[in-house]
Amino acid sequence: MNHQDDQLHRLLQHWREVEPAGNFDAQVWRRIRQSEPVRRPWLIDWLPRPAWTLAAAVAVGLVIGIASGVFSAPVVPPTEQLSFLAPTTLAGALRGGHR
């Protein structure tokens, strides 16, 4: 740095600095939070329309309902289904004859 540059440098230092505001960091964080994209569940992205979401929920409910109905129903042997018939009646006698 030559003499002229040194002289200029000393002169320029008379332009004083400014101080950051007390809430500088808080403002930065506030702006960071504001600019953050809203994170949505992946399912919402996968099903972009509410109608599709509703339709998918109904379909899943139907499948679960039908499946649970089918698998939870008691399996009754055909002969036990006719056990209410008394042996004294014709139908009961016929039933007894089949054994």
Partner: protein, 174 residues
């Protein structure tokens, strides 16, 4: 201005440690604010631009390469934010720009800062950035080249022209 701990603080921030970014804010809020202030000449706008620079830095922290000085990377972001503000000013002028005051024959000492601010404001943006980084932040030619994404020769040329123009404008104070 380079600090060996900066890359570690960046890595911690990327890992989700907000306290590490607080530390970067504490280290660089004043230099970045004053860099923006000397480019824009307005303390309120500088505050806004400096905050914007930190938000941009946070958003693009993953793009920072640890081999590069964090300070020059941050100054480059702040410079772009300031240039965006200068362009906005040009598109949305709110008041006629005040003419740079001419130094009086016997300048008053309390006006000196305003004269210097006006003289620097009158420089083209590239010369202004170079002289501010050299004179007020003590950056080397190589560091300024890193901020401005140009060659060291180009920095030398800009500094030479900026100093010549400032000596001319401020000759009444020298």
């Amino acid at each position: 201005m380079a600090d060996a701990q900066d890359p570690a603080l960046v890595a911690r921030t990327l890992a989700g440690d907000d306290a590490a970014f607080d530390e970067l804010l504490a280290r660089y809020r004043k230099p970045v604010l004053n860099f923006a202030y000397r480019l824009l000449g307005d303390a309120t706008e500088a505050e806004d631009v400096a905050q914007d620079a930190f938000v941009r830095a946070y958003r693009h922290l993953a793009d920072y390469h640890p081999r590069r000085q964090f300070s020059t990377w941050l100054f480059a972001i702040a410079r772009h934010a300031a240039i965006d503000r200068l362009r906005y000013r040009q598109r949305h002028p709110t008041a006629p720009l005040a003419a740079a005051p001419e130094p009086a024959a016997s300048p008053r000492y309390d006006d000196l800062g305003e004269h210097i601010a006006a003289a620097i404001a009158g420089l083209p943006e590239d010369q202004r950035t170079a002289i501010v980084l050299a004179e007020y932040h003590g950056l080397s030619h190589a560091e300024i080249a890193g901020v401005m994404d140009c060659t060291e020769k180009s920095v030398e040329s800009r500094l030479y022209r900026a100093r010549a123009a400032l000596r001319e404008k401020l000759r009444g104070f020298l």
